[in-house]
Symmetry: C2
Subunit: 340 residues, 2 copies
């Protein structure tokens, strides 16, 4: 089969890779229906994560089960499935506590490489969720989004304790930030402030439920948020970038006792303890427990309550995966969907 391999920063190739097979009795092999490029893939693409040898890429996927291992109980060949970007056994104490992406037997799906025609999924019962039936084609982008980017925005809103009546700020206008807006709306936020400087992303944020747009950053951005919140800061702030600037923006935009949910994969961040102490905000984040939320997210998508697939503004054949990366790297696309 064919799939994406990165050889060096900026050098993604569509090339032949070994066909995946059942290696463990808890595995499934799926035929890919759709996959995509994640903002976190760009860290590697831009050389910010080391590439010591050619790497398979991709960790977001929807597909049809082709084969299951002998111990798989909940799935059958032919099922249409969505899985988390982290494979999890679903049975350990951490999974049961609601943090499957930190399962004691976790397997990052990026290591297996979902930007490919087929994919082996470890811990299939703990990782994949089947849809109620064959989905309409128009639902596929939204179901694919649930695999990571929607689940991550959803978790960010939960980590930021978004509730009815609250004012929410979203730092970052990438696909995760935009779906953080959607999640905040779904959780009943009263006011949702999207911090964005890009007209197309501002429009999508508004479509997802943003009530205010703030284009300023840094001290000016904090001042604008304070202006909008009686000088106090927001109740809840979603951080969806992962840089020092975005983390400080988030913390400083939150009122005492408020909540910051951070999901941007952290790069070069160092948080001063005295800021954390004096700001007195709840800080929580990390890899989103997508698998826990998948049944709920699939249900909402299935019933057309949410339309997270709107974050895909470029669709390409999987064979053009290199262009999919380039378009996101150059900010010509918010998020690229790839069809085998």
């Amino acid at each position: 089969m064919y799939g994406a391999v990165i050889h060096a920063p900026g050098d993604v190739r569509y090339e032949e890779r070994p066909d995946p097979t059942i290696e463990q009795p808890t595995d499934a092999v799926i035929r890919m229906v759709a996959t995509c490029v994640c903002g976190s893939d760009l860290w590697t693409y831009r050389g910010l994560n080391p590439i010591k040898r050619p790497l398979h890429m991709g960790h977001e996927y929807v597909g049809i089960v082709e084969e299951i291992g002998a111990d798989v109980q909940t799935l059958a060949p032919g099922d249409f499935v969505i899985g988390s970007f982290m494979a999890s056994d679903g049975t350990c104490e951490i999974c049961r506590a609601g943090y499957p992406s930190r399962c004691v037997n976790v397997v990052p799906m990026g290591m297996l490489g979902a930007q490919a025609e087929r994919l082996r999924v470890p811990w299939a019962d703990g990782t994949l969720v089947a849809t109620p039936g064959e989905p309409d084609a128009e639902l596929i982008p939204s179901l694919l989004a649930a695999s990571d980017v929607l689940g991550t925005g959803w978790f960010a809103a939960e980590a930021a304790a978004v509730e009815p009546g609250k004012t929410v700020v979203v730092v970052g206008d990438g696909a995760v930030g935009l779906l953080g807006v959607l999640a905040a709306k779904a959780r009943g936020a009263e006011r949702i402030v999207a911090m964005s400087r890009h007209a197309d992303r501002q429009q999508l944020a508004q479509r997802f439920g943003a009530t205010d747009i703030v284009t300023e950053r840094g001290d000016e951005g904090v001042a604008r948020i304070k202006d909008l919140t009686n000088g106090l800061g927001a109740h809840s702030v979603i951080e969806a970038v992962g840089t020092q600037e975005s983390m400080l923006q988030a913390i400083r935009s939150t009122r005492p006792g408020g909540h910051v949910g951070f999901v941007g994969v952290s790069h070069g961040v160092s948080l001063p303890g005295d800021l954390l102490f004096s700001s007195e905000v709840h800080l929580f984040g990390g890899p989103a427990p997508v698998r826990r939320d998948l049944p709920d997210l699939i249900d909402r998508i299935w019933h057309r309550e949410i339309d997270p697939g709107l974050v895909f503004d470029l669709t390409l054949p999987l064979s053009e995966v290199a262009e999919g990366y380039r378009a996101m790297d150059e900010r010509r696309a918010i998020k690229t969907l790839l069809m085998p």
Copy 2:
């Protein structure tokens, strides 16, 4: 009147200071019954906070109301009162949300200086709580503890989401850490691990409810905690020191999805974002909202349910305040109580 003034690191003097008076209609003036030295006072005593001019010291206090301003509603001269280390108006949005120590009109009581014969208390209605009557002398140390050190340990346990059935680790065996043990016990923790190397503090921790003592620190300390928790880390960790080492100890001892409550005043702490992201722990702390919890804490002390006053292992006349600091600085005392 007389009170404590620090002139330079290590130089605390008992000297004449102006008598406090009612300055605002929301003020009260109290006659001190007991005050004490806080671990955070030692930061200043040791020169880690700058001393640009002579400073009044002390922010923990119980006393008798002598005089009230025209707008004070809930108190009368003669009342025995306990107040928070932070004066708060009790009416702003932040106070009402449960964070009075971050009141928009907050006044740190340390600026007024509670190690003195008398004390002006701003926002008396929002800051002070009267006891149901004249307390027995034996209750005074515990009531004094409620002013800060108990309230801080109590908040740490709440911030660490201590609940029945959980395993709790307490980093720091000072008075706050020890009362974090007491608070964890009161909240129903199943197992309470005190990290302590001092026999007298270990004993007090056990008296307050610690079930295990860990003397190791750093990597070895983390490994010991993992050994005690199926390799996962504790559900809840209380950080009661404020250094880089103690914060990392706390975060690394917590399981994914667990909670760190930090109340040690932060000095020189810088937290790596990738550790926060990958550890996936809830992090919350800052100045404890003591005033919110005072009615509950007073009630528990009044009914002899808790005995936090045990942290005072040295009692001196207020005039010997300098010795009170020395004894704590040299670790001859856990906490010094001062009687005018």
